[in-house]
C-alpha cells in the first residue's frame, strides 16, 4: 500500500514507502562499510562504536557520592 514519504533529520535516513511493484527497482540499500570480508551497515557500526564509547565513559566518569569511602554510619546491612 502507498504511504506518505517519511523524512528524518540528518543525512542518514531518507525513507520512501512504495508499492511492492517498485520494490526491487527503487528502494536503495542503506550505506554500508565494505572492507574485505566485513560488510557492516553504517548504522550498526555507529551503534557498536557508541556502545564502546558509553562503556569507556561509564568506567572513567566519576560517580556522585561521598568522596571519602571510609566507614559509614549506619548498621551493617
Amino acid at each position: 500500500m502507498k504511504r506518505d514519504a517519511v523524512r528524518a533529520s540528518g543525512p542518514i535516513l531518507v525513507v520512501v514507502h512504495m508499492s511492492s511493484t517498485d520494490l526491487l527497482l527503487a528502494v536503495h540499500s542503506g550505506s554500508y562499510v565494505h572492507v574485505g570480508v566485513i560488510n557492516v551497515s553504517v548504522t550498526n557500526l555507529l551503534i557498536v562504536l557508541g556502545m564502546v564509547v558509553v562503556f569507556v565513559l561509564a568506567l572513567v566518569l566519576p560517580f556522585p557520592g561521598a568522596k571519602d569511602l571510609g566507614p559509614e554510619r549506619g548498621e551493617r546491612s
Binding site: L23, I47, L61
Partner: protein, 215 residues
C-alpha cells in the same frame, strides 16, 4: 477472637507438613532479611558501570509496554495507522536500547569477574536471559507481516530445519510465531529476569577483586 497466627504452632514437636509454611519459608529465605529492597549498598558500589543492569530492566519495561500497545491494536494496526507506526518505532528502538544496555552490562560484569563468591548461577541465568531475548526478538521480526518478515522467515527456516527444530517451530507460520512472541517467550524472559534479580539481591553486589575477608 483468635488472630491469625503466622508462626507455626507446634513446630518444636514435629516439622510442619503445611505447604503454605514451606512455601513461605522458601520465599522469605531467598534473600537475606532487608536485602530485597535495601536502601544501602556496599561502599564499593560507586561507578557508572553499575547502572546498566537497571537500564536494561527499564528498557525491558518500555519494550513490554510498547509491545502491549501494539498487541492492543492488532497485527495489522501499525501498517495502517501513523500512531501505530510510531508505537512500532518505540518498540524497535527500545529493543535496540535493551540489547545495547544488556551487552554493556555483560561487558562490565565480565571485567569485574562478577561470577565470584557463589555468583556463577547469576552469570549463567544472565546469559540465558540474553539468549532468550535474542529468540524473542527473532519471533518479533517474524511477526511484522511485511517484506522483512517474509525474507527472515524464508532464510531462518533453513537454519532451524537443518537441526530439526523447524519441524515443530515453524517460522513460516506467523500465527504460531506471533503467539510465541507475545506470550510464551516474554513470560519465559520475565521469569528468567526475576530469577536473575533475585540472585543479585541474594548474594549482593560482588566485592572488588583482590579484596580479602575483613577488609
Amino acid at each position: 477472637m483468635t488472630a491469625l497466627r503466622t508462626a507455626t504452632v507446634g513446630e518444636a514437636e514435629h516439622p510442619s507438613t503445611n505447604w503454605t509454611t514451606w512455601l513461605r519459608g522458601r520465599i522469605s529465605g531467598l534473600v537475606p532479611p532487608g536485602q530485597a529492597l535495601p536502601d544501602r549498598q556496599p561502599a564499593y558500589v560507586v561507578s557508572w558501570i553499575y547502572v546498566f543492569g537497571v537500564l536494561t530492566l527499564a528498557a525491558l519495561v518500555v519494550v513490554l509496554v510498547s509491545g502491549a500497545v501494539l498487541a492492543a491494536g492488532g497485527v495489522a494496526w501499525w501498517h495502517v495507522s501513523s500512531l501505530g507506526h510510531f508505537v512500532n518505532s518505540m518498540h524497535l528502538w527500545s529493543v535496540e536500547l535493551f540489547f545495547a544496555f544488556m551487552v554493556i552490562h555483560l561487558w562490565g560484569k565480565f571485567w569485574m569477574a562478577a561470577w565470584r563468591g557463589k555468583r556463577v548461577w547469576t552469570w549463567v541465568i544472565g546469559v540465558l536471559a540474553f539468549v532468550m531475548s535474542i529468540g524473542t526478538a527473532f519471533t518479533g521480526y517474524l511477526s511484522q507481516s511485511n517484506f522483512d518478515a517474509q525474507w527472515i522467515s524464508a532464510e531462518a527456516k533453513d537454519g532451524l530445519n537443518a537441526v530439526a527444530i523447524g519441524a515443530w517451530f515453524n517460522v513460516l507460520n506467523p500465527g504460531q510465531m506471533l503467539l510465541w512472541h507475545v506470550l510464551l517467550l516474554p513470560v519465559a524472559v520475565g521469569v528468567v529476569t526475576v530469577w536473575h534479580i533475585v540472585l543479585v539481591r541474594r548474594h549482593g553486589v560482588v566485592p572488588p577483586l583482590d579484596t580479602v575477608r575483613g577488609d
